[in-house]
């Protein structure tokens, strides 16, 4: 099974500038582990102390994963994952 993951500009140095990469996994957690094994360092940019970083938004298709169970969110073949850094500040 194959999942499309869209990578934001700021993380493309990890993916050799690819805007979108393929990954595998039945949960978001597994997909991130898979991504990190192919694109070393990417996992750490997404996770902090085993949780999704507060200012990284991850969507499965059109839905924010925070409403889908976070790292335990189920992924189906053909789903598309989008990663976007929050636009935020003080």
């Amino acid at each position: 099974m194959s999942i499309e993951v869209r990578i934001p500009t700021i993380l493309r140095p990890y993916t050799k500038d690819q805007k979108s990469v393929e990954a595998e996994g039945a949960t978001l957690s597994a997909v991130i582990t898979n991504l990190d094994s192919n694109y070393a360092g990417l996992g750490e940019r997404l996770l902090e102390n085993g949780a999704l970083r507060r200012f990284i938004n991850v969507y499965i298709n059109d839905e924010d994963v925070r409403f889908l169970g976070g790292l335990e969110a189920q992924i189906k073949d053909g789903d598309s994952i989008t990663i976007l850094p929050a636009v935020a500040g003080g």
Binding site: T9, I10, L84, A86, V87, G89, G90
Partner: protein, 138 residues
């Protein structure tokens, strides 16, 4: 490195910052992908509704990037207002800056300088802030 922006957008951003005072206001200006030209203003809602913080709503954020993709546009400017402090990136602005290609514009409408305002532009890359000159045209 410099920013060229039309007078119309500068006025609209300052007007939005006054209208949303005391909360910070925020938004983007888009342009054709790869052009670097700031041509389409899109005010955003500050989901934090706060005088000291701003954040695009995650749903609005996804919609914005989808729209930009569909229109073959890029985000040229990300702006927000500081209502009580100078128009310079705060520690949190620097920590969360996630668009290395964008101009980060800050405006200040703090009362010490009223009725004048500040409008400044920065690059924020890997935690390093570099101010750039702003040319207002039209």
């Amino acid at each position: 490195m410099s920013l060229e922006i039309s007078r119309e957008f500068v006025d609209a951003i300052l007007e939005q910052s006054r209208a949303e005072y005391p909360d910070e206001c925020c938004g983007v200006i888009l342009g054709p992908a790869g052009s670097g030209k700031a041509l389409r203003h899109k005010p955003m809602i500050n989901a934090a509704h706060s005088p000291t913080f701003y954040e695009f709503d995650p749903k609005d954020l996804l919609a914005l990037y989808r729209e930009a993709d569909d229109n073959d546009e890029e985000i040229v400017i990300i702006y927000h207002s500081h209502t009580e402090t100078e128009a310079y990136p705060s520690r949190t602005d620097i920590a969360y800056a996630g668009e290395p290609g964008a101009h980060y514009v800050l405006v200040s409408t703090r009362k010490e300088i009223a009725p004048s305002t500040e409008f400044r532009s920065f690059r924020i890359i890997d935690g390093v802030v570099t101010e750039e000159p702003v040319t207002i045209v039209g």
